[in-house]
């Protein structure tokens, strides 16, 4: 477990693609600054986890860096004022989310002074780790690579991380995106400070930075900054999606994180470069997360990276990058492989916004009409998880969700490599997302149904118990009729209600069965009289045969019902194993009885009929 990793070698993962990088456009200019906007829209949902609890009210004056909302529950992140000003409103506004739906936002009107709160750097070297991590809960720092998972949780508040190796993700494998590249070129020293902090907090013995080989300047800057530390800088080949945490871990260590484990469970933790830099800003300078670097590229006049306050409307950013060219149709947040279309250019920049691409038809051709899958398996060759995308597509398309799950649908990281190489232009990722959401919905429904079934079983058990108690009282009175009943064939039992304990109840059933047998015999006789002989192997037109068929159907139905309930109780196994076993025994008994009854009834019929 604690064996340190030898970083001498780079391990190539299966698959991967190398799309045109298109990174040069936005690395020509240094990281730019924006003028202060008139209005900042700060969505509460900028991270993975619970919404933070609002700590300000409309009309409040706030300072730059002041806490606006604090982390609520375990997985949550705080939100701070990116500049000084007044809270104008707390209301729904359109946020940059794939759904395009509005969500709750804090609207801040800057006062133009940009006045900071008092900076409170922490003496983290000499503090208890636990205390530092507790402080980080209010830092607002989340994974700035795009995952936006609250960082303090990844540092493990219990102070027992078990992490021996810290991996810094600087691969930045998606085309067009250069925010981490520029950050490393310009602020490598601060990043190294951040790495040392994360390493200290995790108690990790070593740290390694993975950078794709298309960023030589960044790698050189990091090398220079890391001199005198034990931080290793590793250059990995440019191959999308090397920036995926599990792929990067494999590239650097040769270790496959087991599918059902987190990286920390094998002694590794992965942070993005911008995230560790934010740790440094917070702990050494007392500055919470209020801005990030955003690449603005694509169909704009001057592609460039900017340091952008959270909440800045997108159109200001576009304007700063020389404006969008005339044929721009929309904006994409993220890269061309995994990004999504923004609803308009009013949306605010959030913690997840690493890149904005102005899109035009000549930049990203509208996809042609998909052709059928020709099973060429290029997707399987490209899949970094070694899935069989063509099979998953087939299962998703035919709503064969169980099969999709068997073929490890949920290990799909939705990187889009499969769709990128598909000659038929099938939107594969969308099929997988669809199947995943259908399965999740079905699982939830099943959970609810299991609960309801469990309740119903308890209810039926209670009813039966009460019935048995009632039956016991009548038992003695029924003794007399019993001897007579024993001569007649076994009853057409009411399988569902009867149980082996409910012997007295069988009495009525037996009587019914006798009546039914007599009825059948009469009918058979009548039929025989009509045809003049015993009905045998004739066309199923006689009333006797029809009746028999109807009876068989009825019995089948009865048994089928029992079967279904058997299966259902099997589903509920994890909930109540005892109830299940009991129920199965009952069903087996009921089926046995039904079989016996059938045989006996047939024997009786033969006797009487012939």
């Amino acid at each position: 477990m604690n064996a340190l990793v030898n970083f001498a070698k780079i391990f190539k993962f299966h698959g991967g693609v190398h799309p045109p990088e298109n990174k040069n456009q936005s690395t020509q200019l240094p990281i730019g600054q924006l003028p202060l906007p008139d209005r900042l829209v700060l969505p509460l949902r900028q991270h993975v986890g619970n919404l933070p609890k609002i700590r300000v009210a409309t009309g409040d004056k706030v300072l730059k860096g002041q806490l606006l909302a604090e982390a609520e529950g375990t997985v949550s992140a705080a939100l701070h004022a990116p500049t000084s000003g007044m809270i104008m409103a707390i209301e729904d506004a359109v946020i940059p989310h794939p759904s395009g739906l509005p969500d709750k936002c804090i609207i801040l009107a800057p006062d133009g002074n940009d006045e900071w709160i008092e900076h409170r750097p922490l003496d983290w070297h000499n503090m208890e780790r636990k205390a530092v991590i507790a402080e980080l809960r209010n830092s607002g720092i989340v994974g700035f690579g795009g995952a936006t998972f609250p960082s303090h949780i990844k540092l493990r508040a219990d102070g027992k991380s078990g992490v021996h190796t810290l991996i810094i993700n600087a691969a930045e494998c998606e085309p067009y995106i250069t925010c981490d590249d520029m950050l490393m070129r310009e602020r490598a020293t601060q990043i190294v400070q951040g790495i040392l902090i994360a390493q200290h907090l995790l108690g990790a013995e070593q740290a390694v930075v993975g950078i794709e080989d298309n960023k030589p300047e960044a790698a050189a800057a990091m090398h220079a900054a890391a001199v005198g530390t034990n931080i290793q800088i590793k250059v990995v080949p440019t191959l999308y999606p090397s920036g995926d945490a599990r792929r990067l871990v494999y590239l650097l260590t040769g270790q496959e994180i087991p599918h059902d484990k987190r990286t920390t469970e094998v002694g590794l933790q992965v942070f993005n470069v911008a995230t560790v830099l934010a740790l440094h800003r917070y702990l050494d300078h007392g500055e919470p997360a209020i801005s990030r670097i955003v690449s603005v590229t694509g169909n704009v006049g001057r592609p460039q990276n900017f340091e952008v306050l959270f909440g800045t409307p997108l159109h200001l950013l576009i304007q700063a990058a020389g404006g969008a060219k005339a044929n721009t149709t929309h904006y994409i947040m993220g890269g061309p492989m995994m990004g999504f279309k923004l609803p308009d250019d009013d949306v605010p920049i959030t913690k997840a916004a690493n890149c904005i691409i102005a899109s035009a038809p000549d930049l990203f051709e509208p996809p042609p009409v998909p052709m059928p899958c020709i099973r060429c398996a290029r997707c399987a060759d490209a899949c970094p998880v070694s899935l069989q995308p063509q099979e998953l597509y087939w299962f998703a398309k035919s709503d064969n969700f169980e099969k999709a799950r068997d073929y490890k649908l949920f290990d799909c990281i939705e990187c889009g490599a499969c769709a990128y190489v598909c000659p038929s232009n099938i939107p594969l990722v969308q099929y997988y997302r669809y199947a995943k959401s259908e399965i999740i919905t079905a699982d939830r429904a099943k959970e609810a149904a299991d609960l309801a079934r469990q309740r119903n079983e308890f209810r039926l058990q209670r009813i039966e118990r009460e019935k048995q108690e009632r039956a016991a009282k009548h038992a003695e009175r029924a003794q007399g009729a019993k001897a007579e009943a024993e001569k007649t064939p076994a009853p057409q039992a009411n399988q569902y209600a009867a149980s082996k304990l409910a012997a007295p109840d069988a009495d009525a059933a037996k009587k019914a069965a006798i009546a039914a047998a007599i009825e059948r015999a009469k009918a058979a006789k009548a039929a025989a009289a009509q045809t003049g002989e015993t009905p045998k192997n004739i066309e199923p037109t006689s009333s006797a045969v029809k009746q028999e068929i109807a009876e068989i159907d009825a019995r089948r139905k009865n048994v089928g019902l029992e079967d279904k309930q058997g299966a259902a109780s099997g589903d509920a196994k994890k909930v109540s194993p005892e109830a299940d076993a009991e129920k199965q025994a009952k069903i087996a008994a009921a089926i046995e009885r039904a079989k016996a009854a059938k045989a006996a009834a047939e024997a009786a019929k033969k006797e009487k009929g012939e």
Binding site: P258, F340, P372
Partner: protein, 339 residues
């Protein structure tokens, strides 16, 4: 909105199919050079029939006609079938075969991407079973033919079954090497003496070995272009070599050499153009290896012990049946899972 990825690097389906057609061109050239231009008539007939049948079926099935007719997949089926049947056959033979391939084996199963069997091989098998006599009348290579038919004479024969003068069909046809080998072995001749017949060339059938070599060339082009992976041809040719090699080593008098098996019959066409049909083949790397090895083994067994001189078509169809099984049992290990 989620539409990512916004970029795509793949050649279109049409481009892939077009490259397959291009890869067949050297083989067709060699074919014309060795046997005369008759095969071009077969190819033209098959192409026209395939496109018409495809368009008609798409119309009947209420599917868009243009994108599917221009994907060129029907033309590949047509060409492969035309190259697989004797070029001196009456015109209706190739038409019937192509119709069956496109209408039944392809479109009735759902068209491009849905056919479980290789359409060209289904068409071939139907013709072989229905018209065995016609399907074994192979023209002799011009090099060794007693009478050489001109293109016009071949043309006239295909459409009217009339040969110039008082020529009999036997004068212009000959047994294929595999056929000849089989009948002669039955007559207790030994391989060494059999292969001294003028029918045999350096490695395969005289003349025909150039055609085979040209297929190999086209196949290597497809591999270089990443249209096909190495698994299928390598496993097919490898297994065929191994299988025939073992028998040949044990008894060289009664079994033909691996070289003969590789360069005779449909070996090369099969290795690079037929078993590489992605739609009816397996998708996993190991599945491809097993599939191709299976085709090779069955082909060899049919050639040596079966009732037909060659067996690629039946072997492919049989292995097509096994594809779902092969795919299901050769799933590669997924990242993060132990085997």
């Amino acid at each position: 909105m989620l539409q990512a990825p916004y970029i795509n690097s793949a050649p279109s389906v049409s481009t892939i199919m077009l490259k397959v057609l291009l890869a067949l061109v050297p083989g067709i050239f060699a074919y014309v050079w060795v046997y005369g231009g008759g095969v071009l008539i077969s190819i033209a007939l098959a192409t026209a029939t395939a496109l018409l049948a495809e368009a008609l079926m798409l119309r009947l099935r209420n599917r868009p006609v243009k994108p599917f007719v221009t994907d060129y997949s029907a033309i590949i089926t047509a060409w492969l079938l035309a190259l697989a049947i004797p070029p001196l056959s009456p015109w209706w033979l190739i038409v019937v075969g192509t119709l069956f391939a496109i209408v039944v084996a392809k479109q009735l199963y759902g068209g491009l991407g849905y056919n479980p069997f290789n359409p060209a091989m289904v068409g071939y098998a139907v013709l072989l079973i229905s018209f065995p006599a016609l399907m074994t009348k192979w023209p002799a290579a011009l090099e060794i033919a007693q009478t050489k038919l001109s293109f016009a004479e071949q043309f006239r024969y295909i459409f009217s079954s009339v040969l110039p003068g008082d020529l009999k069909l036997d004068a212009v046809t000959s047994a294929t090497p595999l056929d000849y080998l089989k009948t002669q072995l039955k007559l207790s001749h030994e391989v060494a003496s059999i292969s001294e017949a003028p029918l045999f060339g350096a490695v395969g059938g005289k003349g025909n070995e150039y055609v085979t070599a040209a297929y190999l060339l086209g196949g290597l082009y497809l591999w270089q272009q990443k249209i096909i992976s190495w698994h299928l041809p390598a496993a097919f040719l490898g297994t065929l070599t191994l299988m025939s090699g073992i028998f040949w080593l044990v008894s060289p008098a009664h079994f033909a050499s691996p070289l003969l098996h590789l360069f005779c019959g449909a070996s090369m066409l099969g290795a690079f153009f037929i078993i590489t049909d992605p739609v009816s083949g397996p998708t996993t790397p190991n599945g491809k290896l097993y599939f191709a090895a299976g085709v090779a083994i069955i082909t060899y067994l049919i050639r040596v012990y079966g009732g037909y001189p060659d067996g690629v078509a039946f072997a492919v169809i049989f292995m097509n049946i096994c594809v779902p099984l092969l795919d299901a049992h050769t799933q590669p290990r997924v990242f993060g899972y132990r085997q």
